[in-house]
């Protein structure tokens, strides 16, 4: 489904990686490993289409993603370092906006259920009042509503999570992969994701 | 086909570097010669104007400088557009190389316009349509240079500047016509520096010579600057 061919990336004058190639099929899990600053986030951004590689291209189902634009974006969920939530809105408002922008149907009921699964009461409190971990969970709740989206690109999904939330996230990822989706993620921690043959790409 | 290949070969900064040096040298020499000829015609050959006396001779610098300032902006926008469309590094460098020269000519046009205005109309600045348009053009050039200076990443700087140059180029005719209209709306007295004295052929020859001299100088200066940029980046 997803093919990266011959990717080069330079940031701040340093070459992060050269000639990186891999192919990912549905039902596969790919972990991007490497030290801090080795280019994990940059690689994920290149795979999304947010960053242009200095060389090489990324293809989705055979077509270069630069040509596909929104058609590709509709097939992926990207959760980056920043929780991507507006401080002045409540968690529920943030989640329903995120889903509408991604073209996913998200009636209020499902939004509240997703937040509840992650232990966030559907309160009226703006996200500003939540802790770092709670914000992360509010962002991750989107995964519960994105089962139909084939490709998940997750940058450090387990950061700032407590054990139960981390386990829930691992289950979600495993279930998505088992259902034929593809997941690419980066992490510092050891993740126990119950998948047949997890693959690893080492950077740096 | 081979012509296209040849062009794209020169589009690589490495191969362009020596070529730019050669062209710049020849253009600089030619510019100096033409400038000498133009100034000679302007100051010695062209007849004294009946209305304005000797002071009008500054037109030989003012008008060609104004022409150049507008022409260079279009050229800059052209290179910027090529850079955005074909993603070539050199086009962005060309646009960046041209900008300071364009700004310089705009500044010269403004200064000489003011110097012309003083003896002729009694004031250094009369808010006439052309001078006001030149002033705004100067701001457009300075904005382009400021934007490129504020961005560290050369690739983003080139592309952001290119977009700004294109948006600016599209706006220049609109700005020019709106300033013209503004001038007619507010001017009681028909003071206009754009109304040049009737052209004797010698005057026209002088101005054209100066214009060519400025053009060749611009090419030389821009290419010299591009060489510096290439050295900096590669």
């Amino acid at each position: 489904m997803l093919e990266a061919s011959d990717l080069d990336c330079q940031r701040g004058g340093r070459a992060l990686f050269r000639g990186l190639s891999f192919a990912l099929r549905g039902g596969e899990l790919l972990r991007v490993a490497g030290e801090n600053g080795s280019g994990k986030t940059s690689l994920l951004k290149i795979l999304c289409g947010l960053l242009a590689p200095d060389q090489g291209e990324v293809r989705w189902r055979g077509e270069p993603i630069r040509r596909l634009r929104e058609d590709y974006a509709r097939n992926l969920v990207y959760l980056g370092h920043a929780p991507a939530v507006k401080d002045d809105l409540t968690a529920a408002e943030n989640l329903s906006i995120a889903c509408t922008l991604a073209g996913i149907e998200a009636p209020a009921q499902s939004v509240h259920e997703a937040l509840a699964r992650y232990g966030l009461a559907a309160g009226q409190a703006p996200v500003r009042k939540l802790s770092q971990g709670q914000r992360r969970r509010a962002a991750l709740a989107r995964l519960l509503l994105s089962q139909g989206v084939p490709l998940w690109l997750l940058d450090e999904p387990f950061a700032a999570l407590d054990a139960s939330a981390a386990r829930l996230t691992e289950e979600l990822i495993a279930r998505h992969v088992a259902g034929g989706g593809a997941v690419v993620y980066t992490t510092h921690q050891d993740a126990n994701i119950d998948v047949k043959e997890p693959r690893v790409v080492e950077l740096g | 086909m081979s012509a296209t290949v040849k062009w794209f070969w020169f589009a690589s900064p490495q191969t362009f570097f020596p070529l730019a040096g050669t062209i710049a040298r020849w253009c600089a020499i030619a510019a100096a010669l033409l400038a000498a000829a133009g100034l000679y015609v302007g100051f010695f050959v062209a007849p004294t104007d009946a209305q304005q006396g000797e002071a009008y001779r500054i037109i030989f610098i003012h008008v060609p400088a104004a022409w150049m300032s507008m022409f260079l902006y279009v050229v800059m926008a052209f290179w910027a557009a090529i850079g955005l469309a074909f993603n070539t590094r050199l086009s962005g460098m060309m646009a960046s190389g041209i900008a300071p020269t364009g700004a310089l000519f705009t500044f010269i046009a403004l200064w000489t316009g003011a110097l012309w205005g003083r003896p002729t109309w009694g004031a250094y600045w009369v808010w006439d349509a052309r001078l006001t348009s030149e002033l705004i053009l100067l701001f457009l050039y300075l904005g382009f240079m400021a934007l490129q200076a504020a961005i560290d990443d050369p690739r983003r700087a080139d592309r952001a500047g290119a977009l700004l140059a294109i948006v600016g180029a599209v706006n220049v005719p609109i700005i020019y016509y709106s300033v013209q209209w503004w001038n007619t709306l507010h001017q009681g007295a028909s003071v206009s520096l754009t109304r040049a004295p009737s052209m004797a052929s010698a005057m026209l020859a002088g101005m054209v010579l100066m214009a060519l001299a400025f053009w060749l100088y611009s090419i030389a200066a821009a290419l010299a600057r591009v060489r510096c940029i290439i050295l900096e980046r590669e």
Binding site: L51, R69, L101, G103 | L142, I151, G168, I175, S178
Partner: protein, 222 residues
Amino acid sequence: MIAAARCIVVRDLLLALRRRSDVATALLFFVIVASLFPLGVGAEPNLLRAVAPGVIWVAALLSTMLSLGRLFAADHADGTLEQMLLGAAPLGVVVAAKSFAHWLAAGLPLVAIAPVIALQYDLPASLYGVLALSLLLGTPVLSLIGAIGAALTLGLRGGGVLLSLLVLPLYVPVLIIGAGSVDMAAAGLAPAGQLQLLAAMLVVAAAFAPWAIAAALRISTE
């Protein structure tokens, strides 16, 4: 696509509502700037009546520019801009919706307050209509053109001042035609021509600016 656009407009207006002070500050700036001019040039009624359209337009321009910083910076900082770049709706539609919401919060109130300022300048009441209409047509153009500048200067140091330098030359035609229309009306001539020109500028800006803004955003975030 419509759903996404509506969602963004509602979202931005909701955010503006929850950060009322930011919106109010820009409007207060408009009033203060307009009030400064008489202090600078003297309160001679004929003079003030003559400069009123220009002063009000310049103040509107400066106030719009001040509020442009809000347009993309906050979204860029908390990562929501990235999500919009990866959204299902074309980026042109997204930025058009954002610019429209920006105008509703920053430009439209200026149209409402302008007659009050005009009162300060003793502008004849017959001109209020032309003034309001010229601002109504012109302020969206200011929002759209300004958004291009805001997108280009995203995340740069010296942001606000740099934005002004880039955007003010591009604002000149709108200023000239907008203030000029009121001056024409003041002189007893029909301002219809200038107002139609403003409307044309609005149509052209609405058609082309979103793509320029989207391109600028991609350039700034890549």
